[in-house]
Amino acid sequence: MARSPSLHVAVIGAGIVGAAAAHFLAAAGARVTLLDASGPAAGATGASDGAVSVASKKPGPMMDLARHARAFYGSCEADGLLRGLFHRRSTFLVARTPLEAKLVAEHGVDLAAAGERVLDVDRPTLLNRIPGLGDGVCFALEIPDDGHALGYEITQRLLQRSSVTVRRNTHVSEIVMRAGQAVGVAVRGEMLAADAVLVAAGIGSVGLLGLGDILIPRKGQMVVTDRAAAGRPAIDGHLMAASYLAAKRGIVRDNAHIGLVIDPLVTGQFLIGGSREDHRSDQTTDAVTISAILRDALDLYPPLRERRVLRTFAGVRTASRDGLPIIGPHPHFGGVTVATGFEGDGICLGPFMGACAARMILGEAPGVDLSLLAPQRFAAVEALA
């Protein structure tokens, strides 16, 4: 598709990915309408921790992609677009059993192989960095080049700094096709004409594209505490338990597994998560799961006993069947691009993936090889034709 000042793109989904794509499309001169059934950052983007973390990624394409995505945050922060919203901070991968120590060590090797800086931290150094850390922590690695950004802040900034038209409370019922080519989207019984359509609607993409057996919702319950420090992160890094790595590396597959992270927010509060509950798309939280998360968190970082829980909430991650995001042109719907299935990695990958999607829609090369993430890898999509 040639770049044209009259190109009108309908972007469905105002989460971090949709907002980023809309921003970069508009920056390139396209006219963009961003539609959301609720509003900006209303879904997983607004209900997630803010880890811009390579440390947590599965070795392979996800780890490489996360390194690109984190670097992209760095350049957007430097050029002013995301100034003040992206903060560098360390991730500490921590183990509490010999088996976990082995897993963390293996993961460290994989990270180093991908080009990531990995630092060994002995217990005295660790206690110096994170005073009060639990007695059970027997091994840890520091990944010093990770970062932090809040999904809703990024989304808001991307939209503020663009000419995108945002339509809130606007449910898109279908993509209108004519002769195999998208010509618009149906909104409240009317058609909004568009030259191209980007579907970045998370679990809402299922209904639009018939991806029911490819995308699954994975609920995560989380906790926000009161402030442990005034206006700065209370500890010097993001604590990621081996249980979280195990889930990311596909070692545990049981439903309702807890992958523990303790995320020190810039407000001085802690965000503690989270459960991984497959096929759950409700946003309720329950005392049994929340108390289990908190017991695990107290074991890892006992000073939390002095905190109060302000809120519990749940977000719904959208995961693909094979664990990889789905980004690229729809194999059969001309003019339709898909960007979803980011699971718990949307904040980290979002701005970069949005920028890639924008380039694809503009007919340009995305700059990195995304062929492994293309929608046509799923036979079920082929069957849609």
Binding site: S38, G39, P40, A41, A42, G46, Y152, Q156, V166, R168, N169, V223, T225, D226, D282, Q283, T284, T285, D286, A287, V288, I290, S291, L294, R295, A297, L298, L304, R305, E306, R307, R308, V309, L310, R311, T312, F313, A314
Partner: protein, 433 residues
């Protein structure tokens, strides 16, 4: 759970004020088991707050309130065997699995209890119309000051100004005067003389009128000026005290005081409270000022009404007609009162604090898109996400937007910040498997 086991479950009553205690007593007198939860270490609610042992007893308003309460507590003693009273325990709401959750602050543990029905009677919260400086130390809600006065028997030291709207201003000012520290002035925003119809209707309310007259007499004797169409425009700190910029009618003045007590009416404390659901498996009812602002006189009656509704939901007959008539009168009185004191809305200055918990100002609110959803106001604006969970900024924003800031869905728990250690120490109901 078997039918028999279900009938052995208690009915939950949250709140140990007049509405909650009346509900608990009515249920227990009908032979039901009751679980009564109160956040403080003793019953009484805001209205019947007892002085700490050894504190001077001060004049605490009308004798009929004390008579009613004494009578109710003696009924409570007669049925105490059927009431499990948990004081120093906070209702945290209902979780996604339908568990009723509580924090026992004495043993630092969150516990769940299965109940067959619930009555929530958690009273009112005060409405505050924000002005610059309302968040400063030295500014208290008039109701909060009244509770502390009842507890300590001593008024705060130094000059006091009482401002806002509503009959509570009169009551607090009179109680402060009787306790030895008459306020510099009472500033009422409204002007009932401009609403003769409502005023005339109020004149038919016997006990409340007598109460107001008694307070008015005290203020007159102590020469406390009571100014209508007067309000606080802003407050700043100066040395040990406050400089309060006020409007008296059409004139602006500066007053110096140590304490400013503010209050702009009451509203039901409904943030995060489960919606009333009389048809649900575990029916939920609201009672007292937590349902609708009826005032202290009607709160006991409304507790009885809620208890009767629970009994009816269990297939027991319970006459409520007489209660409804009395409640109708209380409702009409409150409506007339609100109308008599109604004043036009005032827009806060950009620097005015709206969300005190997170330090968010009116300018932060107006910077949001005009069509921002309630979720965006929370998420992007960071309003209503602080420790008070929108109990104060929520009503302020509702008034400024002209529509309520709809509550976060699904209903969230905890309703109040809860000790992390206590929640980690969660204990399930013994009957849950």
């Amino acid at each position: 759970m078997s039918e028999q086991a279900m009938t052995e479950l208690p009915v939950l009553v949250v709140g140990g004020g007049p509405a909650g205690v009346a509900a608990a007593v009515t249920l227990a007198e009908a032979s039901l088991r009751v679980l009564l939860i109160e956040q403080r270490d003793r019953l009484g609610g805001a209205i019947h707050r007892q002085p700490a042992p050894g504190a001077p007893q001060i004049w605490r308003g009308p004798a009929r309130h004390r008579r009613n309460w004494t009578e109710l507590t003696s009924r409570l003693e007669r049925v105490a065997a059927r009431i499990e009273l948990r004081t120093s325990s906070v209702f945290l709401g209902v979780d996604g699995a339908g568990r009723f959750l509580f924090e026992d602050c004495r043993v630092s543990q969150v516990f769940a209890r299965r109940v067959r029905a619930a009555i929530v009677a958690v009273g009112a919260i005060e409405r505050i119309r924000p002005f610059e400086g309302w968040e400063l130390p030295g500014v208290m809600s008039a109701g909060g000051a009244q509770i502390l006065l009842k507890e300590t028997g001593r008024p705060p030291e130094g000059p006091i100004v009482v401002a806002g709207s509503g009959p509570l201003l009169l009551a607090v000012a009179a109680q402060l005067a009787r306790a030895g520290n008459p306020p510099l002035a009472v500033l009422e925003r409204g002007n009932p003389w401009r609403r003769p119809k409502a005023l005339a209707s109020l004149m038919t309310a016997g006990p409340q009128l007598a109460e107001a007259a008694a307070y008015g007499t005290v203020l007159a004797l102590k020469r406390v000026p009571y100014r209508i169409e007067s309000e606080v425009l802003g407050v700043t700190e100066t040395g040990q005290g406050l400089t309060i910029r006020v409007r008296l009618g059409k004139v602006e003045r500066l007053l110096q005081a140590r304490h400013l007590l503010v209050h702009d009416g009451l509203e039901p404390n409904r943030i995060g409270i489960p919606l009333p659901a009389p048809e649900a498996d575990v029916p939920v009812f609201l009672a007292g000022d937590g349902r609708e602002i009826h005032g202290a006189d009607a709160a006991m009656l409304d507790g009885q009404r809620a208890a009767a509704a629970v009994l009816a939901s269990l297939g027991r007959t319970a006459p409520v007609a007489a209660l409804e008539t009395a409640l109708g009168k209380a409702r009409a009185f409150q409506r007339d009162l609100a109308e008599a004191l109604r004043s036009p809305p005032t827009l806060p200055s950009p620097e005015t604090m709206i969300c005190r918990c997170e330090g968010r100002r009116y300018a932060d609110f107006t910077a949001l898109p005009a069509d921002a959803s309630a979720r965006e106001i929370r998420l992007m604006g960071r309003f209503g996400l602080g420790a008070c969970q929108a109990r104060f900024c929520g009503p302020m924003l509702a008034e400024l937007r002209g529509e309520p800031l709809s509550s976060a869905s699904p209903p969230r728990w905890p309703l109040r910040p809860v000790s992390l250690a206590a929640l980690a120490n969660f204990s399930m109901d013994q009957t849950e498997t």
